[in-house]
Structure formats: structure tokens, C-alpha cells
């Protein structure tokens, strides 16, 4: 291996690592706020990538029908819950907007020239299609059992992941897809050429991390989410609705997931079931962060990307095995230092 190859591998590793870091952050966010280990995060990556590809191919994405179906079911569930709690059906503006939204999108998709839209608009449309699935998933699958033990929430996550992979196959078919790159050429830095997509991924990830930081540090909603993560009951007593916190964190997770999918789709061919293994690498990052620390999780995820790239060069058949054994030293260290017996929530 010479310097050139090392640079190339490093660039690959950084690109993937940046994506894993984004996923690690969103996984951590969802876990600390809702105690849900959000395994289906990977499906949002795949859905984002494949929806973008569908749009670029000029087809109407069938995903919009899933969105419409879930919105209808969520509305019915809200109506029934309203009747159970207050004795009458309530249908507010929020419900009306949620119910109308997918049908507006269906109309838009019919009218717009999908194939010839500028890429930024295609990306925006992809996000508009995929991201609302996040809060809808929270409403339908997690909200009814928001106080269940972590273990139950985890099993629900796995069940949802399994179902979403099946739905992905139904909607997108078994073929993989790759999208057009965002830009051509690259940036020459001395002996290294950073290619355009790498730059896009790194800049976008960095921008998103900064935006998240500002959101959590500077805005009231961000602080509300942080408060919920620190003390659920306390935050609730201060008027922060757990339902709001749940939906908001799932919204952010879906946004980050879909965006990661859009970023990664020009680099790797994505299949309906590719998301799982990508999000698991995000999980490895967040486990390295002890499911608590954001900076360590992001660094851990970056490390996962780098080790993956280099092990692909040295021992490509064992690449995945090497990546997943990364959690062992961390778990070992944590096991040896913790001596506390505590109750599971």
C-alpha cells in the first residue's frame, strides 16, 4: 500500500464515516429522548436513496401511497383516541393538514416534470415524501406504548424494521439504484484529489451537525428535547409534551436518515434492504459513545468508516465482521468499569 492508496481509502472512509456519524447522532437523539433504539433508521436511508432514484428516472414514487395510507390510519387512530379520552371525535387543523398533505403531494407528483427538475428540487421532494413517515411511525407504533420497557420498544423497532424492509421491496422492487452525482470534477489539494461527492457529503454532514448543535443550544424546541432526554417526568411537568418530543425526535431522525440516503446514493448502489447494515454501523458508533455522548458517537462512527475502508482493502471478505467486532473492546471496557446493578426501565 502506498500513500496514494491510503489517501484514497481514507477519503472513502471519511465519506462513509460522515454518513455513519449522522446516523449515530440521530440514533442517539431518538434513544435519549424516547428510549427507543431506532433500528428502522436504515430504512429511511434506503427509502431516501431509492425515492431520489425513482424521481430521477421520471417515475412517480409509490411511496406517496404509503404516506397517504399511514396518514389515514393515524387520523382514524387519533379520532378513536379522542373519543376514548373525551367522549367525542375531535378533528383539528393539525389532523386536517396531516390528512391533506399526502394528497397534495400526489397531485404535485402528477403535475411536475420529475425527471427534468433541478437536482435540489428532486432532493426537496424526496425529503417531503420520506420525512413525514418518521412522526407517523412514532404516532402509530411507539406512542401507544411510550412507557413500555426499553426491551419492548426495541422489539417493536425490530418488528417495524422487518415490516419496512418488506414494504421497501413492494414499493421499490428488488433492483438496486444509484443516482446521478451532485457535481463533476473535484478539488486538488496537493497530491490528493477530493472528488466532488466526497466534498458534498462532508460539507453537508458538517452543516447538519452545526445546525443540530445550534438547534439544541439556541432554540426553545431544542432545549425542550434536551430536557426530555435528561428527565422525562420533569420535562413533562414543565409542560413539554412527551408526544411532541417523540414526534420531533422521529422527525429529525427521518430527516437525517433520508438526507443520508440522498448523499450516499451517488456513491453506492442502494437496494431495498441496504439500509439495515448502514444504520447498524451508526449503531456501532453510538455504542462506542456509550449511548450517551454525541461527540464520542460521531467520532466512533467516523472510525467505523475508516476501519471499514481499510479492511476492505486488506481483508475484503471479512470487512463486515471486522467492523462489528469493533464494539467488543468498548463493551469490554464498559463491563469492567461498571459494577452497578440497576433496574431496567
Amino acid at each position: 500500500m502506498n500513500l496514494q492508496i491510503a489517501m484514497l481509502l481514507g477519503q472513502d472512509g471519511m465519506t462513509n464515516g460522515a454518513i455513519y456519524a449522522l446516523l449515530a447522532l440521530s440514533i442517539l437523539l431518538v434513544f435519549t429522548v424516547t428510549r427507543v433504539l431506532f433500528i428502522p433508521q436504515g430504512e429511511f436511508v434506503a427509502f431516501g436513496a431509492l425515492t431520489m432514484a425513482t424521481l430521477q428516472a421520471g417515475h412517480a414514487p409509490a411511496l406517496v401511497w404509503l404516506l397517504a395510507l399511514l396518514a389515514v390510519i393515524a387520523t382514524i387512530a387519533d379520532l378513536l383516541a379522542g373519543r376514548r379520552d373525551t367522549g367525542r371525535y375531535r378533528f383539528g387543523t393539525g389532523q386536517a393538514l396531516r390528512l391533506g398533505y399526502p394528497f397534495v403531494l400526489i397531485g404535485l407528483i402528477q403535475v411536475l416534470p420529475l425527471e427534468s427538475l433541478p437536482m435540489a428540487l428532486q432532493a426537496a421532494l424526496t425529503l417531503a415524501l420520506v420525512v413525514p413517515l418518521g412522526p407517523l411511525c412514532y404516532r402509530l407504533f411507539y406512542q401507544p406504548i411510550a412507557n413500555a420497557p426499553v426491551l419492548i420498544l426495541l422489539i417493536v423497532s425490530v418488528a417495524l424494521h422487518v415490516a419496512m424492509v418488506g414494504v421497501g421491496l413492494l414499493i421499490f422492487g428488488p433492483e438496486g439504484a444509484r443516482t446521478q452525482p451532485f457535481g463533476e470534477g473535484g478539488l486538488e489539494l496537493g497530491p490528493i484529489t477530493l472528488n466532488a461527492q466526497t466534498l458534498w457529503v462532508l460539507t453537508a454532514s458538517l452543516a447538519l451537525i452545526v445546525a443540530l448543535y445550534l438547534f439544541f443550544e439556541r432554540t426553545l424546541y431544542g432545549k425542550a428535547l434536551r430536557a426530555t432526554a435528561v428527565n422525562r417526568v420533569g420535562a413533562r411537568l414543565m409542560g413539554i409534551s412527551p408526544v411532541f418530543a417523540g414526534k420531533a425526535s422521529f422527525f429529525l431522525a427521518a430527516l437525517i436518515g433520508a438526507l443520508s440516503g440522498i448523499l450516499i446514493a451517488p456513491i453506492t448502489t442502494i437496494y431495498f434492504d441496504s439500509g439495515f447494515i448502514i444504520s447498524l454501523k451508526g449503531f456501532v458508533g453510538s455504542i462506542i459513545g456509550g449511548l450517551a455522548s454525541y461527540p464520542v458517537a460521531a467520532l466512533g462512527a467516523l472510525l467505523v468508516g475508516l476501519i471499514e475502508a481499510f479492511s476492505a482493502f486488506f481483508a475484503s471478505t471479512y470487512k463486515e465482521v471486522i467492523v462489528f467486532t469493533l464494539i467488543i473492546p468498548f463493551l469490554l471496557w464498559r463491563s469492567l468499569t461498571s459494577r452497578h446493578v440497576e433496574e431496567e426501565e
Partner: protein
């Protein structure tokens, strides 16, 4: 007699729903006999396809049973069970087909039975390794760890040449049993179901034992169990290893039934399906594993035909149905299908027998009256800038009752935590029988003879009063997993239950012996905690607000009990609010305010002490 008989998960009584005793209902034994007879004749009357289906159900149920133990009973879970199945299958595949094996393992070549042994040992080693790095951490690290394990092993199966890569390995011989070759579906059927039934019965036995109580305490009672001397990390490891071994055995049977292995059935998605089986069937019940395996296997068969036609595309769309079904079950009926089925076939309820002839358990020698038992020396505990306890000293002697009192927020609970070893003082030390308490975990402290109750009652609400109290006697028994599974622990178990029953009678809960602990009134639950603490045969009893929620008569009875214990030489420390109760009972009082000791002495002196009056009544002008 309370009509709500015991219904612990996993024990024989779990086949009954709470209901009045029906004398005309069949006994569990009868129902089981009918089921066995039907099984025995199944291969003779059913077409081959159905027999194959039953074979698969048996194999899957064996794995799901492990998950029932792990998930439903122990509150842990694993997504990597399919990988353990694969470990069993590939071990036997390699050992029974290889022509050249390295010398150290050559002895196991060619015999499926030796291969089973090697597979089980290998599985146990892997499970212990995975367990030892995840089981001491919070419960969600094990499932995440098993996901990584499941994926890694699947990749290894697919890439290693010696294992045949993705094409797999062929030519695995059938198992032979006393010269009888089990090479037909209708023959290996009996072996599969014999394995499954043996596993179900031994698991049931295990859950109904000393170890079983410790295992059942893992879900929601770990802090309490540790305080009763249970090593919860070990119990978690035990059930994880058992679950892995059951999966390995299933893989061994699978390999010799199929006579062929490839990586597909051992992937992570199958590991997830096993968990679905356990949850759908009823993760808290041993028979739930069988029901779940049956339902999922049959549904899968049916949906794989139906859905592609319905949707006009080919693919494994049944996962959508399974995923949504799982979510609905977890939202609506977390106990799965088994409890609903059990309701359809009511069987006679039986409860545990207390043997009058069982030999009493050995007791620890009690310290002489007046001997110093517990001593706190200048204990200070700071939380950041807040000083919760400042320079607190107190001592408790054998045969005396000391009360620690003080207004709300005085730091009594913090002091209690320092004394019981739950928390470590910032300065000063606590000595129990001359040995420092700091740095010891609650298990060791329990072994030294300190036993406690909790301010917020910590019981296992679905277990009987008897079983809850018997956990207290955990460290007075020694019979471990294997003797329990094979019922070699009955003599010791009878002694433990007799001791538990004795303590229950002693505290006056005799008529509730077989009731669910959660059905008792709060005051009675506090009394139950005292019985549980006494079952540990302590020389020091720490009671955190024992009289809260008790009625007048109950308080009187509690007072009498504590006086009797004192007369026997027990040292007792009470943290209490109820002044009447304390002043008529205890020998000495320590009064705390703002984290400091403001008075100490006989009850009468303390009641007249101006500082105490000021603390309680806001000063005398």
C-alpha cells in the same frame, strides 16, 4: 382460602388463569397425556408434508423456548439465536463429513452424538464470551451485541471455504439411535419432539426452584434480588447460555434432518423470526414457545403462497404481516396467544406443598446480646455542594432497636443508603461487625448478615407471597441449575419453602401464603418485605419506614414481632415517621435534622429535648 391461586409465569400453575377451583376440570397431567398421545400417533396418520411441518415446528419451538426463558422470564433478549443454531448445525456438519481432521479433534469425527457434545461446548464458550462483555451492562447491550454476533457469524459461514461458502455442505449422515437410523421424517420426528419435551419439562422444573426464583426476579427485581444475595449477573448468564444451548441442539437436529446445511437459515432475519415466535406465543410461558413456533410456521407457509399472488410480485412479503402483527401484539396483548389458549382449556390449579417434615435450615450463630453490630463513624455524604449527611455517628447493638428519626429532608434516606452499602460516604466509614461496608456490593453485605426492606416496596407482584419470601432464603441454599432442572433439589427446596412459610406465619401473613404478592394491601406488602428479610437469617435488620400504610392493629402486631426479634438477640435499625410507633417500641433514638445529628438518647429524653421539639414543632416561643 384466597381463590386467586398462584399464576407465576413458567411454573406448572401457569396453565391456569386466576379462577375458582374447578373440581371437574382435568388436571395438567391429563391434558399433557392427551397431547403426548396425539403426538405419538401423528407420524402414522398424517401425510408426509404435515409431518415435515411438525418437525420444523419442533425445531423452531426448541429455539423459541430459550427465548421464552431469556425474554419473557428474564427480561433480556437476543437476536442472534439463529447464529447459535448455525453453530450447532455447522459443527456437526464439519465433524461428521470431514475426511481429515486435525489430531486434537479427530476423536469426535464421524459420530453425530460426539458432534452434539462438541457443538454444545463450543456454543457455551461463545455464549459465555458474549455474555461476559454485555450482561453486566444495561439490558439493551445484549440484544445489540447479539445483532453484531448474528451478522458476523452469518458472514463467516458464507465466506469460509472449509464450510462450503454460500453453497453449503452436503452428505451429512442421519443420526442413529441404538442402531436405528433416523433417516426418514417420520423417524427423526420422535427425536425432535423428545428433545423439545425434555427441554420444556426441565425448563419448567428450573423455573420452579431456588435458581428459578432468582431468574424470575431479573425482570423488575434486580436491586431487590441483589440485596437478598442473588448474583443477578450470573443468573442472566445462566439463562443466556441455556437459550444458546437449546438453539445449538436445534441446529444439530436440523442438520441431520436436512442432511445438508447452507448459511441461509442462520441469518439475522431468522434470528428475529425466532423472537417473533416467542413473543407471539407468549414470552412468559414455556408452552408459548410451541404455540408461537406453530403459528408463525403455519402462517409463513400460507402467506408465502398467498401474498405474491395478491400483490402481483414475488418476494418475502410475509415479513410485513409478521412485523405489523408483532407491533399489534406488543401494543394490545403483551402476553401473547398462550394465555388466551389456556383459558379455553381450564385445568385444575395446584399450589405448592409445604412439607412439615423438612429439616429446618441451619442458622447463623447469633452475636451475644449487647455486642456492637453496626457502627457509623463521622459519616459525611456530599452531593456536589449539598451536604446530605454531615459527621453522622451512630451505633446499633445486638438485642436493641435503634430508631433514626427526623423531619422530611433531614437526610435519613441518604444515611440509610450509607449504612446499607448502597451508597459510599464522601468521608467517614461504616463498620458492620467490624468490617467496612464501603466498596462491598449488596450481595456481599447480605451474606455478612445484614438484611433490609425498601422504602418503596420492591416485590415481584405476579409471584406468590411464598415465592417472594423464599427469595430471601436464596443464599441459605446451594442447589444450582442442573440439579434444579432434573429435580434433584427437592429436599433442599422443601427446606427453603418451609423456612419461607415459617417466616410468613411469623409475621402474620399465613392466610395469604399462596396469593399473588401484588394483590396484598400496601401495609401487608411491607410486612411481606420483613418476612423476606427474616428468611435471610440476618443478625441486623434495617427497616425503612415499616409502619407506613399499616392499620392500628397491624402496627401493634409489627411492634410485637420486633420485640420478639429483639429478645432473640437481633439488632434492628428503623427509619420511621410514626412517632407513637417508635416511642413505644425502641430502646434508643437518633434524631436528624439538616443532615446532622441533633439528639440521641432514650425515647423519653429525646421527646423533651428542646432541639428536637424545635425541629418538629417549629420552636417553642
Amino acid at each position: 382460602m384466597n381463590p386467586r391461586l398462584q399464576t407465576e409465569p413458567g411454573t406448572p400453575a401457569s396453565t391456569t388463569v386466576p379462577q375458582t377451583r374447578r373440581s371437574n376440570a382435568p388436571s395438567t397431567r391429563t391434558v399433557l397425556a392427551v397431547f403426548l398421545a396425539a403426538l405419538a400417533f401423528a407420524p402414522m396418520v398424517l401425510p408426509e408434508f404435515q409431518v415435515t411441518l411438525l418437525n420444523y415446528i419442533g425445531l423452531y419451538a426448541l429455539v423459541a423456548l430459550g427465548l421464552v426463558l431469556l425474554t419473557g422470564v428474564g427480561g433480556l433478549t437476543s437476536f442472534g439465536q439463529a447464529a447459535f443454531v448455525g453453530l450447532g448445525a455447522y459443527t456437526t456438519a464439519v465433524l461428521t463429513t470431514a475426511t481429515e481432521l486435525p489430531g486434537w479433534i479427530a476423536w469426535a469425527a464421524g459420530s453425530p452424538w460426539l458432534a452434539l457434545l462438541v457443538g454444545l461446548v463450543l456454543t457455551a464458550v461463545v455464549a459465555i464470551l458474549i455474555g461476559s462483555i454485555t450482561l453486566r451492562l444495561s439490558g439493551h447491550y445484549l440484544p445489540l451485541g447479539t445483532i453484531a454476533w448474528g451478522i458476523s457469524l452469518y458472514f463467516l459461514f458464507g465466506t469460509m471455504d472449509i464450510l462450503g461458502g454460500h453453497t453449503g455442505m452436503t452428505g451429512i449422515p442421519p443420526i442413529s439411535l441404538f442402531g436405528w437410523e433416523l433417516d426418514k421424517g417420520g423417524e427423526i420426528f420422535y427425536l425432535i419432539w423428545a428433545f423439545l419435551l425434555a427441554a420444556v419439562l426441565t425448563t419448567r422444573n428450573l423455573l420452579d426452584s431456588r435458581e428459578g426464583r432468582a431468574i424470575r426476579a431479573l425482570k423488575g427485581g434486580m436491586v431487590m434480588a441483589e440485596a437478598m444475595g442473588v448474583n443477578t449477573s450470573r443468573s442472566r448468564m445462566v439463562i443466556f447460555v441455556i437459550a444458546a444451548l437449546l438453539a445449538c441442539a436445534s441446529g444439530w437436529l436440523y442438520a441431520h434432518m436436512q442432511r445438508f446445511v447452507n448459511p441461509t437459515p442462520f441469518g439475522l432475519h431468522i434470528g428475529i423470526e425466532y423472537l417473533f415466535m416467542a413473543v407471539v406465543g407468549g414470552a412468559g410461558h414455556v408452552w408459548g414457545a410451541l404455540v408461537g413456533a406453530g403459528v408463525i410456521t403455519v402462517m409463513k407457509q400460507w402467506l408465502q403462497d398467498l401474498l405474491p399472488q395478491l400483490l402481483g410480485a414475488s418476494g418475502n412479503f410475509e415479513v410485513i404481516v409478521f412485523g405489523i402483527m408483532m407491533v399489534l401484539i406488543l401494543q394490545r396483548a403483551r402476553d401473547g396467544i398462550w394465555p388466551l389458549l389456556a383459558k379455553l382449556v381450564p385445568v385444575r390449579a395446584v399450589h405448592k406443598q409445604i412439607s412439615a417434615s423438612a429439616e429446618p435450615l441451619a442458622r447463623r450463630p447469633m452475636p451475644a446480646k449487647g455486642e456492637l453490630i453496626l457502627e457509623a463513624k463521622n459519616v459525611t455524604r456530599k452531593f456536589g455542594g449539598l451536604v446530605a449527611n454531615n459527621n453522622m455517628s451512630l451505633e446499633v447493638r445486638a438485642g436493641e432497636i435503634l430508631a433514626l428519626i427526623g423531619p422530611n429532608g433531614a437526610g435519613k434516606s441518604t444515611m440509610f443508603n450509607q449504612l446499607s452499602g448502597v451508597d459510599t460516604p464522601s468521608a467517614g466509614e461504616v463498620l458492620f461487625r467490624g468490617q467496612p461496608v464501603a466498596g462491598k456490593d449488596s450481595r456481599e453485605i447480605a451474606r455478612m448478615g445484614m438484611s433490609r426492606t425498601f422504602q418503596h416496596v420492591k416485590l415481584l407482584p405476579t409471584m406468590s407471597v411464598l415465592d417472594n419470601v423464599a427469595i430471601g432464603a436464596h443464599m441459605r441454599g446451594s442447589r444450582s441449575v442442573l440439579p434444579s432442572a432434573w429435580r434433584l433439589d427437592r429436599a433442599e427446596e422443601a427446606r427453603l419453602l418451609k423456612e419461607a412459610a415459617r417466616q410468613i406465619e411469623r409475621v402474620g401473613l399465613g392466610e395469604h401464603m399462596f396469593a399473588e404478592a401484588g394483590s396484598l394491601a400496601l401495609g401487608q406488602q411491607r410486612i411481606l418485605e420483613i418476612a423476606r428479610a427474616l428468611a435471610a437469617d440476618p443478625c441486623l435488620l434495617l427497616l425503612d419506614e415499616p409502619a407506613a400504610g399499616l392499620r392500628y392493629k397491624e402496627k401493634e402486631a409489627l411492634g410485637d414481632l420486633l420485640r420478639r426479634l429483639r429478645a432473640e438477640g437481633m439488632a434492628i435499625l428503623i427509619v420511621e415517621h410514626d412517632m407513637d410507633f417508635v416511642m413505644n417500641l425502641v430502646d434508643r433514638v437518633v434524631v436528624m435534622e439538616f443532615g446532622e445529628k441533633i439528639a440521641e438518647g432514650l425515647p423519653d429524653e429525646v421527646q423533651k429535648n428542646p432541639a428536637v421539639l424545635e425541629a418538629y414543632l417549629g420552636g417553642v416561643e
